[in-house]
Subunit: 101 residues, 2 copies
Amino acid sequence: MVRLPLTPAELERGRRLGALLRRARGERPMLDTALDAGLSPETLRKIETGRVATPAFTTVAAIAGVLGLSLDAVWAEIHRPDGVAGSGEVRDAEDSRRLAS
Amino acid sequence: MVRLPLTPAELERGRRLGALLRRARGERPMLDTALDAGLSPETLRKIETGRVATPAFTTVAAIAGVLGLSLDAVWAEIHRPDGVAGSGEVRDAEDSRRLAS
DNA sequence: CCATGGGTCGATACTAATACCGGGATAGCA
DNA sequence: TGCTATCCCGGTATTAGTATCGACCCATGG
């Protein structure tokens, strides 16, 4: 395969990322936030609505910078949304898609 | 425009990101690192060599997680290579527009 | 009533990211 | 010498991200 489709887990993470960013934006207009971050309002909206599951690192970083969010906090949030009940073991490598072939 | 080409600044940031990740990888084999992060070795190599300037947020986060890097530190490094002083805010978007309304 | 601002959505255009394939270069060791 | 491991590079295939355009809905205020 070449450029495999997004997995359901990635789509779910995209939705969580969008919800998190929209919550962090609060009352600020979407237009200003997008222009401040240096991207088009439509792109920001697609990210917030979760229709763009895996945006570029620079895009997320720019939005997080405008909103005053920590990238590590964002990643922790969308990677482990519910309480970290997992008792350690941070290494997961997604799902280790298929590694051994 | 639709999906404008990468600017020289973005290409430069991509090179810095790659150099940073390669430095952080140290002696670990590229293959293990890539598989641990859940991506193909080719993708990791392209990112490290700077030929992929704007990888997905999840991709960078996975690599940073494997290498034990802070995403905020990574972004600060590649966004402001010199003077990573924490006093300044992450200002992007060329000219910060004011909230018009 | 209409005008304006903010949000949403669909279709479309075009580039970039991810992955697999083959080959090649280098270094270390039997 | 050959063998293996690691890294690098070219091309190719396919999906995904980014951006523009158009239209629509729902408020608020003229």
